[in-house]
C-alpha cells in the first residue's frame, strides 16, 4: 500500500506539481519552438514521452551496473576477472562519469531508436520522425535521467538502488513526458488563439509566448500543496 502511495505521489508530483516545463523550466526550447500548432505540439509531446520513458529505462540500467562502485559494477567485474586483487573502492571514479555517460547514452539511444523505427514502422516514423532528432540533446530528457538517479538511489545517486526504484524510474520518465505533453497542448491552444489577437507589435510571437508561459507557471504553482515533496 505504501508503494502504491509513493507511485501516486510520483505521478501527480511529476505531471502537475513539478511539471518539467512549468515548474522546473526544463525543455523550454521545444516548448516555445514547436507549440505554434496543436498537431505539432502533440507529435512533439508524444516523441518526448517516448524518449523519456526509454531514457529512464536505459539510464537506470547504466546507472545501476556502470556508475555505482560496488560489487555488481561491470567495470569492476571485468577488472576482477583479470586481476583478482582489485576491490570495488578502486572504482569510485565511475560516479563522476554520470552526466557525461547520460548525455552519450541518450543521444546514441535516440539516434538508434530513430533508425529502428524508420526500418520497422514507417507510419510511426512519419508521426514522430521529424521530432526525434530535436530531442537528442534535450535538457528535459537529461533532467529526467539525472533526477531519477538522484531520487531513486541512496545518498543522492551514489549508493545502491531503493526498492521498486526501476518501476518508479520508468513511471517518473513516462509521467514527465505526459506532463510535458499537457504543457505543450495547453500552450499550443493559447498560441493558436494569440495568432488572431491584436497583440502589440513588440510582443508578437515569442515574447508573448514567454509571458503566457510565465502566467501558466504561476497557475501551476497552485498545485504545490497537492503532494508533500
Amino acid at each position: 500500500m505504501e508503494t502504491f502511495g509513493q507511485l501516486v505521489a510520483i505521478v501527480i508530483g511529476v505531471i502537475f506539481v513539478k511539471n518539467y516545463v512549468l515548474a522546473r523550466f526544463l525543455g523550454l526550447c521545444p516548448f516555445i519552438g514547436v507549440s505554434k500548432k496543436t498537431d505539432a505540439a502533440l507529435g512533439m509531446g508524444m516523441a518526448v514521452t517516448f524518449v523519456m520513458t526509454l531514457a529512464s529505462l536505459v539510464t537506470w540500467i547504466i546507472h545501476r551496473y556502470l556508475l555505482i562502485p560496488d560489487s555488481s559494477n561491470l567495470i569492476y567485474i571485468i577488472a576482477h576477472a583479470f586481476k583478482p586483487d582489485v576491490v570495488p573502492e578502486d572504482f569510485n571514479f565511475v560516479s563522476t562519469l554520470r552526466t557525461l555517460t547520460f548525455i552519450l547514452v541518450i543521444a546514441a539511444l535516440v539516434q538508434f531508436v530513430e533508425m529502428v523505427i524508420r526500418k520497422v514502422s514507417p507510419p510511426l516514423y512519419e508521426a514522430l520522425g521529424i521530432y526525434l532528432p530535436l530531442i537528442t540533446t534535450n535538457c528535459a530528457v537529461m533532467g529526467v535521467a539525472i533526477l531519477n538517479s538522484q531520487k531513486f538511489f541512496d545518498a543522492g545517486g551514489e549508493g545502491a538502488p531503493l526498492a521498486w526504484s526501476f518501476i518508479f524510474a520508468l513511471i517518473q520518465g513516462f509521467c514527465a513526458g505526459i506532463g510535458f505533453t499537457i504543457a505543450m497542448l495547453l500552450m499550443s491552444g493559447i498560441r493558436e488563439r494569440l495568432e488572431i489577437l491584436p497583440v502589440p507589435k513588440a510582443f508578437r510571437g515569442v515574447p508573448i509566448a514567454f509571458v503566457c508561459t510565465g502566467c501558466m507557471a504561476l497557475a501551476f504553482m497552485g498545485f504545490v500543496a497537492l503532494v508533500k515533496s
Binding site: F93, L104, A108, F112, M115, R118
Partner: protein, 277 residues
C-alpha cells in the same frame, strides 16, 4: 590518486563513447532504408517555399507524391513551366506547357463605395469577420480588407491597397493559390497573366440589390455580353455575373465605356509598380 582517477575516467568515457559509436555505425549499415534518389533530386530543385499550392504538405511531400503516387510534375506553381520540365525529366516524362496564372482580388469596393453596416472590433482577420453576420461590409460579397490573403502569401506578392483591398504584384505572384484558399469570400481568383482586364465584382445579387450595397457592383445588366466582342463574355446562370472568356479575348480597353457600373479593372504597368513601391 587524483591523476590516476582522471586517466581512468578518460579511458572509461572513451570506451563508452567508442562503444556507442560502433553500435550506431553498425546500426546505420544494418538498418539502412532505401530512399528513392529521385525524391531527393526533386526535393532539391523545388523552391522550398512550402506554399502548399500543389496540394501536398510542403515541398518534400510533393517530391514524394510525384515519385510514389505518380502526381503530375507540373503542379508546382511557383516553379512554373521551367521546373515542371526538370521534374518531368527526372521522372522520365515529357512536360506540357502550362499557362502562367496570377491571383487578383475580384473586388474594388472600398469603404467609400460600399460602407460598413456596423463597427467590427474583433480579431483582425477576414475569416473571423466573415463568420460574424457576414462581416461588417454592406456588400456581403465584397473584400473585407483584413488581409488574410496578404498573410497567406508566401511570396509577398500581395500588398494591402485602399481600405486593405489587396493589390497583386505580378512579378512576385507565382500562382500558388495560397490566397485563393485563404479568402473566405472567394474573391481571390486566378487569371492568366497575359490578359489586360478582369471583372472586379463577385456580387451575385440582381440589379437593385447589387446597386444598393456598392457603387461599383455588377448589376447583371448584360451590356458587356451583348455589346462586347463576340463570345467574349458569357452570363453565368444563377450567379448574375458575366464570365470573361479569356480564351476568346485577352484585352478590351473600352470595357468600362460599356459597363454602366465601371466594374472592369485594367491591369496597367503603372498600377503594379505603384503597388510594389
Amino acid at each position: 590518486m587524483a591523476a590516476h582517477s582522471i586517466i581512468l575516467t578518460l579511458i572509461a568515457a572513451g570506451i563508452i563513447g567508442a562503444a556507442f559509436g560502433m553500435i550506431l555505425a553498425a546500426a546505420s549499415v544494418k538498418l539502412r532504408v532505401y530512399v528513392d534518389p529521385r525524391i531527393t533530386a526533386i526535393n532539391e530543385i523545388l523552391p522550398g517555399a512550402n506554399c502548399g499550392g500543389c496540394g501536398s504538405p510542403g515541398c518534400s511531400g510533393y517530391a514524394a507524391a510525384v515519385v510514389k503516387e505518380g502526381a503530375s510534375p507540373d503542379l508546382c506553381a511557383p516553379g512554373g513551366a521551367e521546373l515542371a520540365c526538370i521534374v518531368a525529366e527526372i521522372m522520365g516524362q515529357v512536360a506540357q506547357e502550362k499557362e502562367r496564372m496570377i491571383a487578383v482580388c475580384h473586388c474594388q469596393g472600398t469603404r467609400a463605395r460600399s460602407p460598413d453596416r456596423w463597427t467590427y472590433d474583433g480579431p483582425v482577420t477576414c475569416s473571423t469577420a466573415h463568420s460574424l453576420h457576414g462581416g461588417p461590409k454592406t456588400c456581403i460579397y465584397g473584400c473585407l480588407g483584413y488581409g488574410d490573403c496578404v498573410k497567406a502569401c508566401p511570396f509577398n506578392a500581395l500588398v494591402p491597397g485602399i481600405d486593405g483591398i489587396p493589390v497583386t504584384i505580378p512579378e512576385r505572384c507565382t500562382g500558388c493559390g495560397a490566397c485563393v484558399r485563404a479568402c473566405p469570400r472567394m474573391l481571390m481568383r486566378m487569371i492568366p497573366d497575359k490578359v489586360g482586364f478582369y471583372l472586379a465584382c463577385m456580387n451575385r445579387e440582381k440589379a437593385k440589390a447589387a446597386k444598393s450595397v456598392c457603387k461599383v457592383a455588377c448589376t447583371a445588366c448584360k451590356l458587356c455580353v451583348k455589346k462586347g466582342p463576340e463570345g467574349g463574355n458569357v452570363m453565368v446562370e444563377g450567379a448574375n455575373l458575366p464570365e470573361i472568356q479569356y480564351g476568346v479575348i485577352t484585352d478590351w480597353p473600352e470595357a468600362n465605356e460599356i459597363c454602366p457600373q465601371n466594374c472592369y479593372v485594367f491591369r496597367t504597368a503603372e498600377a503594379a509598380s505603384a503597388a510594389a513601391s
